[in-house]
């Protein structure tokens, strides 16, 4: 038996392919939306993976350092480092800001990490080019998505930093690329006060007899110096010793320090379930709407194609064609349209994914799920056209 659907498609292949391409663009948008969601999750996981930490020690009762502000003394790191089961501990700061570079604003997350020893948590785990920060000041390592090149000078607050290394996939949970500075430079950038505030603070210190005792100007100078700088960090990142249980180490730190400690699983839950939850719901709504629109378009196209063949269907029924042959023809056309649409959608989504400002991750599993969904939707909406075709009276082929 010949394929009636195949012949019909071949007969009007131009119209069919164009329709499939139109549908494909819509499917491409749907796949891209799913890719945006996956990209957000992947960014969050990359943030955690690349931090190199097993535990995040943050200000007590906060969800820091990514979801809420958190401030700890950098001295908190030392007793933690001495605890059983702790391999390494390092203070880090995170500050999202916009910096100007070559006439364009680049949104980055400035990360302050200790540079004393390579491999400390918080540092970029790998470099694409250049070297890591070795000087205490004015050097930076940037993620390639910043667009910076080795040797570029970038200004963060008042100071200018030279890019000495490039890394990749180092992004914030919001997808902003990271710019690594030494911890001291990052603390200065994060806690820097403006000039007016410093002048007023100095005047207040000078006018206070307790902070500026007569005959001892060194006290006021020391107070001013302490007020102008900060030794705080946003979190202490901890790696546990080989064989140590991260939950047990976290419990020990909680017992002895007035801090909150998150394990990897807890931090992932904060990032994915709390920070991304609303965005995920938003994207989910878009996916549902796009699926409904796609379904409506396929239904309309298949229904219109079927209605345009009512006379032929009546003739086919009159000359003895089985209902299932006619239903099969319509179903195959709907699936054919879905197949073309999905192929076009997958190609365009893959093609335009790199042009999105944020990471779009197209997972093969999502493609498989998308394919099954497209086929299921096409099969489902073809029922409307099949119903219309099966209602056609073969007597319509006979005049009068």
């Amino acid at each position: 038996m010949i394929s009636l659907a195949g012949r019909d498609i071949l007969h009007g292949w131009g119209k069919f392919v164009l329709t499939g391409m139109g549908l494909g663009l819509l499917i491409g948008v749907t796949l891209s939306m799913a890719g945006v969601y996956r990209g957000m999750i992947d960014d969050a996981q990359a943030l955690l993976d690349n931090s190199g930490a097993d535990l995040w020690v943050v200000q007590k009762d906060t969800l820091g350092p990514y979801a809420e502000p958190s401030s700890l003394s950098e001295d908190a790191e030392r007793p933690i480092r001495a605890m059983a089961g702790v391999d390494r501990a390092a203070g880090v700061t995170y500050l999202t800001m916009q910096i100007a570079h070559q006439g364009k604003d680049v949104r980055v997350m400035v990360v302050g990490a200790e540079v004393a020893q390579p491999g400390e948590p918080g540092q970029p785990p790998h470099l694409l080019a250049g070297r890591r920060i070795v000087q205490g000041h004015y050097e930076a390592v940037a993620d390639v998505k910043t667009g910076f090149a080795i040797g570029d000078q970038v200004k963060v607050r008042r100071n200018t930093y030279r890019i000495v290394g490039l890394t990749s996939r180092m992004v914030s949970s919001g997808g902003d690329p990271m710019l690594f500075l030494s911890l001291k430079d990052a603390q200065e950038a994060q806690f820097e006060k403006d000039a007016d505030a410093i002048v007023r603070q100095r005047a207040r210190t000078t006018s206070s007899p307790m902070l500026n005792p007569p005959g001892n100007p060194a006290v006021a100078e020391a107070v001013n110096a302490a007020q102008a700088s900060s030794t705080n960090v946003n979190a202490v990142l901890v790696t546990v010793a080989p064989g140590a249980d991260a939950d047990a180490v976290a419990a020990t730190i909680r017992r002895w320090q007035r801090v909150t400690v998150y394990t990897r699983a807890q931090m992932e839950e904060i990032l994915v379930d709390k920070m991304i939850a609303n965005s995920a719901r938003q994207i989910g709504m878009f996916l549902v709407i796009l699926a409904i629109v796609s379904a409506a378009i396929v239904a309309f196209i298949i229904y219109t194609m079927t209605i345009g063949k009512i006379r032929e269907i009546a003739v086919l029924k009159l000359i003895g064609t089985r209902n299932r042959t006619i239903a099969g023809m319509i179903l195959q056309q709907a699936l054919g349209l879905g197949l073309i649409g999905f192929a076009v959608g997958k190609i365009v989504a893959t093609f335009w994914a790199p042009f999105f400002p944020k990471y779009v991750l197209l997972l093969p599993a999502d493609s498989v799920r998308g394919f099954v969904a497209v086929m299921a939707i096409c099969a489902l909406v073809s029922l409307l056209a099949i119903h219309a075709a099966l209602k056609v009276d073969p007597a319509e082929a006979i005049g009068g």
Partner: protein, 241 residues
Amino acid sequence: MAEGIRIENLVKTYGSGDTAVHALRGVNMSVAKGEVVGLIGPSGSGKSTLLKCLGAVIEPTSGRMTIGDTVIYDDGWKVGDLRALRRDLIGFIFQAPYLIPFLDVTDNVALLPMLAGKPNAEARKEARDLLEALDVAHRAAAMPSQLSGGEQQRVAIARALVNRPPVILADEPTAPLDSVRALAVVDLLNTMARQFETAIIVVTHDEKIIPTFRRLYNIRDGVTVQEGPAGSHGPDGAGKS
């Protein structure tokens, strides 16, 4: 000659009670194998209803219909699968050819045997043989839209004949054709009827072809009157009885 189709006292009533419409009031007719008869009558006389009953697309109210030796209706359908009945025992030729636009000429004709389960190659061979007989074999690979009106009607006739049905119902088959082509189609039907021993009933209003039938049935108010060779019939079926 052996009988191709016999209709006895066929009644079709739409609705019931005061609103009942008696479309057929007891039609009797028979057509022998190899014979072509005309069925004429004014609009509303019941021609289309009779054709639909004969074509097993609507169910008569009562009566009896026999195709060859097979009783297909006797106050109720006597065959379970009307679709198979239409496919295997009845051929249809329509007012317009109604060829399937996305199939080429060969497959338009071969479709029926394929639907009946014949292998594609065998069905296509039968189709090509018939197209040869109908003198349209040279257009076998063409699409319907590439054919002239006369060629399309020949292909439609081939489609009606391909399963060798004992009966062919032709509904105004010459309506879209000019005189020359219309008469050629009737000639062709006569030839095919004889060649394939098929009983052909031609419903027509076409004055050009009415005189060519050796036997005519005139249907009026749901009742048929058999008439002899036509000669003075108008398009509304009026004439000597």
